[in-house]
Subunit: 399 residues, 2 copies
Amino acid sequence: MSHSWQKYSKDNLCAPNLIHFNNAGAALMPKQVVGAVTDYLNLEAKIGGYEAMEYAAPKIEGIYRDLAQLIGAHADEIALFENATRAWQVVFYGMEFKQGDTILTTSAEYGSNLLGILHLKKIKGVNVELIPEEETGETSVSALEKMIKAKKPKLLAITHVPSQGGLVNPVENIGALARKYDIFYLLDATQSIGQMRVDVSKIKCDALCATGRKFLRGPRGTGFAYIKRERLNYLLPPVVDMMTADWQDGENFKLRDKAQRLETWESSFAGKLGLAEAVKYALGIGMDKIEKRVIHLANLLREKLGEIEDIALHDQGKIKSGIVTFKIKNIDSKDVWSQLFKKNINVTYIPKERFPLDFNLRGLTDLVRASVHYYNTEEEIDRFSREINQVILQSPGLN
Amino acid sequence: MSHSWQKYSKDNLCAPNLIHFNNAGAALMPKQVVGAVTDYLNLEAKIGGYEAMEYAAPKIEGIYRDLAQLIGAHADEIALFENATRAWQVVFYGMEFKQGDTILTTSAEYGSNLLGILHLKKIKGVNVELIPEEETGETSVSALEKMIKAKKPKLLAITHVPSQGGLVNPVENIGALARKYDIFYLLDATQSIGQMRVDVSKIKCDALCATGRKFLRGPRGTGFAYIKRERLNYLLPPVVDMMTADWQDGENFKLRDKAQRLETWESSFAGKLGLAEAVKYALGIGMDKIEKRVIHLANLLREKLGEIEDIALHDQGKIKSGIVTFKIKNIDSKDVWSQLFKKNINVTYIPKERFPLDFNLRGLTDLVRASVHYYNTEEEIDRFSREINQVILQSPGLN
């Protein structure tokens, strides 16, 4: 590993000899993030929760600015949530769908989002259509334009980087269509944020949701949404509380004019400060630099795994992300995960039940997912491929 | 302070000479709670977020049992949320109100709840009626029975201990009516949980919401709901995600059969483990013992403040809680809060905008709220009343 990357590894608190290739699940927090959370918790225990907030008010204000800087937005376009799913849902369920409204999405959309969409189909009778894919797996922009013309959809729900395959969707081209035809464009950036540049001023989405715990290296239980200023009034807050609205008198209330009005009143400020620290850490390295490094390592991993006979790689996409998915012949992916876990190697497995639409289309039953981050090393990739070979050799199914 | 209480104070991390009388805002976490959160965060940073969950799975399961034990429920009747408001909203917005349905609540209901209720009045045309109060401020049980007979309400929304006054509502008597007439009874126990025994098997509510950060001494960003087994199917999950439902095939999903299905997938497990530690800590002392101590200290505080000429106490209720509210003649409560803050004393102030309905009825403009917990001492109460006297003496308004 080059010297310049080694210096970031020194900020990790990770166990010696651990290979963490589950960054698409939750990446390792650097010590600065853990420190920001624990320092604030200790301040709360020392002087009181609300009193700590008085002291930290400028820092807390800063969280919105940091996230805005990360994605090329304005601070008042950011709202903080417990997770990306909640952020997505606040936008989605705020849209006031009517029977017959059309939602365009893809089979590779995140499972929780698809469940939400099917839920609305059931309870409101919305029309849900899947956008066809290119041969390489990405959402087809030309097919999308035809569908937009034919169906006049109310919403485009797109996932930037699907969880279950390596591809990167052409989000800027999709954004150009969304603007051309003025369609609400909701982007799930859960797996892209922190591993590549995500710039809403270029993507031109109307709303975006993301999480802290994945490639951004923030604490679990943190997420955020971006809602374009012009679209805030388009969304009905799904619930109203003292975060959403100010009382005017005993009977009336007035909605606040920032995206923050979509939040709820109470949350973990320790967690949020940890998220802000993670953002600063990523910006300190530089998103372009991170993106190059992640792509380099992921491609190297694909190359090494490609050399192993019994492995089939399942990543799609002309542009590939840090997510590497594969299947070992005759070995259940859950067993692979479990055997690697015992060897101090973190990956994850994805059963078909998680992404039934996508797996059916792709003819898959289960996958191993190894996702790399910039702090991973070429040496880890070597060791990983040796250990995978061991798993294959020791598998009773192949003897 | 008696020896038996001093030993608990030793677990506090609080600054020397700080008087924390803002326990109804957020109580001080004991070191065990901070330790549980930071230990788990460090484990996540060491071995990975999802990998830490593998190790901690039995502990995480235990959180539901601990909370169930605290309130006399079953573990499958507990769902965890980021805060009590979200817990309340998931129940409230899950009830499928129709135009003309009646909700009975009180003017002292928590602000965010009232905003939610008014929101529904606006968007669905539900009928909202306020239950009259006894002269002593509690919800009138006899008036409630008459209203139930006349209005056949769909929901009773009651707050156990209002945030803005010392009273304790007769929640068991209300529960008896709710059962007699079979009406859904949603109890907000945000301010009672952790300061007194809250037993759903006696209260006989259908659902309850509570927070971790107040008298329970848990971390901010934690809360929970209780939903009686028989009522779970009565509530439509407001959103559907992978926590709520299991995929059955590409088009269908099946709701899970535990209250947990009302949660969302991703959250801070560090925070939840801190909450469980706080529950164990409270149970270790004993809720009856805590309740007696809090009432003793709060009554002593009322007594001392009552001796000061320019102070009007505003606590109502035949039974009074650990929340003490008062107004100093001619001094804005915000100024009192600010001056005490500089003297290392934490209280809070409540402006009328927070509780317009209740403050109008009670003829109030603003209040100082001092809320005590078992770790506070008689010596602190003495110092507090001396300092309040100083605030009055130094006030330009009175000279």
